[in-house]
Subunit: 341 residues, 2 copies
């Protein structure tokens, strides 16, 4: 229906692990759709990671060479402040932040996003740390600079949550939510139902590429707590810190407890929830024994889900067995929204 003039955007990417690489592959795969349906053309002008250093070329890096880790010149890793010089060298219109997360501080991702917004670029994060530790500051900075700070992929990969509320669910009163947002514990608990010890179950989750080498963040409920905090802060306007989340991991669950529950037609799940109370938003992460009729009890493996309770109705969103491409897609969708809205 509409004719768009094609505009070319210069893209810079911090973090070039699984997500960053998959994002570049997705950009290549969707190239013609972006041009045809959105008038979007793109050039990869910056790639940075601890391993690579800070690579920038405002005329465009070759994406295929980047995926092959062939860089135009050897780059030395410099101090984080270098992000500003790198953004300038890349002449970045959009920064994508997919570096590894320090959940306690949200750094260095927050610095990267702030530098991007100050340089006049849109700032798109796959990292939930900046949302939990600096949402209001980054949002205000973005508004001041007329740019966007988006982070759809930070909590549920490509599934629309943050973009859904303002656009698709305007003027609702969100009273609370409840969901399963950590896949490692989901896989571990399923293995324990089959009889595995916690250690063996974690090993299995590591083998299928779900659990990290150090699974503490997942087992102790930290990953889930950061996600609950992000949702509560953004969707419910909660004035809440990570330390305010009531948090209980799954280490206290023995195989006996898990199997006994399963025999009784129940299932343990690490449940994330938040609700509005007279004293503000109460948010928590804890193992709960759910009846099988609870839709959350049915979730297997890496499938995640969240139910939102609003004044007008209740709505659940389930993301089925997402791969890395789902996270990469969240970055792509944010990119399109940032430049087209």
């Amino acid at each position: 229906l509409e004719e768009f003039p094609i505009r070319t955007y210069r893209l810079a990417l911090v973090g070039f692990g699984n997500v960053g690489e998959e994002f570049v592959r997705l950009l290549l795969a969707k190239d013609s759709v972006l041009q045809r349906d959105y008038g979007i053309s793109w050039k990869l002008t910056g790639v940075a990671s601890r391993r690579i250093g800070w690579v920038a070329d405002a005329n465009g890096l070759d994406p295929a060479a980047a995926l092959d880790h062939r860089w135009p010149q050897p780059q030395a890793t410099k101090k984080p402040a270098y992000v500003r010089e790198w953004l300038a060298a890349a002449q970045a219109d959009v920064l994508f932040e997919a570096s590894s997360l320090d959940r306690r501080t949200g750094q260095p991702a927050i610095d990267h996003l702030q530098a991007a917004l100050e340089s006049g670029a849109h700032a798109i994060s796959a990292n939930k740390g900046p949302v939990v530790h600096a949402y209001r500051e980054l949002r205000e900075l973005a508004a001041t600079r007329g740019r966007k700070f988006f982070f759809e992929s930070s909590v549920m990969d490509g599934t629309p949550i943050f973009s859904m509320f303002p656009h698709c669910l305007p003027a609702v009163d969100l009273r609370g939510f409840r969901g399963i947002l950590n896949s490692t514990t989901n896989v571990v608990l399923t293995e324990m139902e089959k009889g595995a010890t916690l250690e063996a179950a974690v090993k299995r989750a590591q083998e299928i590429g779900v659990a990290e080498t150090d699974p503490s963040d997942d087992l102790d409920g930290w990953d889930a707590a950061v996600k609950v905090a992000a949702l509560a802060i953004v969707l419910m306007g909660a004035e809440i810190k990570l330390s305010d989340i009531e948090r209980e991991g799954i280490r206290s669950l023995t195989p006996e407890l898990v199997r006994a529950a399963h025999s009784a037609g129940m299932r343990y799940k690490l449940v994330c929830s938040a609700e509005r109370t007279v004293n503000g938003v109460r948010a928590r992460v804890r193992p709960e024994k759910l009846p099988m009729a609870d839709p959350l009890a049915q979730l297997e493996g890496t499938t995640s889900a969240v139910r939102f309770d609003m004044d007008v109705f209740g709505l659940s969103i389930i993301e089925h067995k997402p791969g890395v491409i789902a996270t990469a897609y969240g970055l792509l969708a944010d990119f399109i929204r940032a430049v087209k809205s």
Copy 2:
């Protein structure tokens, strides 16, 4: 963050049954939120139905009086062409179409929506008939006039489906969907599992206000077929007519079949589905025997759900036990999107 100048919109409503009345109540309840968060003020300037006739006052009708069915003057029902004079008398900025549906033709809803767009008003429909029978024409007319044709509440009440795809899921390749979209058959099949005959189950569904006096549209799969057609046409760009939907209702299911399935850990559901094939989109409605592990098998009563299969991941949306307020909310959300985007 943002300051809006308040603008007042004149609203006209065709159809003043359960949905129309609930919509006016919701407008009243959300009045201050609309002003504060969206800069939207409103006046009800037109109400029309077979019973009421065509009531209009550009200075505003009293919503409380309208809910009480006290009208400024007795109105005679005039011929359908009167909609244009009525829209002019109401000076309508937005028309809401919630009249009763003729699924075979989509009329008179299509005429109402067309008249609204031609008069320069946004056209918002709770009716799926116009989507199935006149989507492309109304969309083009709306684009020509710089107005919006929205219909979020026509298939899944307030649940965001049509608004979700362009905004929240840009550039995806939607390969197919699968869902339960008719609540009458869902309630009837649950009653039959408990041992009721089809007739008794329908009576029960009528008692709880789910089934119509004449339940044929539901039992024969027509209601579901219209919904499948609407989703396939809008979301998948299918060149499809209502008569192209493969349709089988639930009349062939005996209580014995339903109970035998249930005893075997399975459940009959009236499943709506569509998939992209080399010969275009294939869409159908038919009873399917689902294993209990299928999330669709878990749905009870009026809860509806649909799963979308995309190239980047799979996503399910569940609407939990929606009331009339959910449909009214769909109209409200469309109103906000129409005037603010």
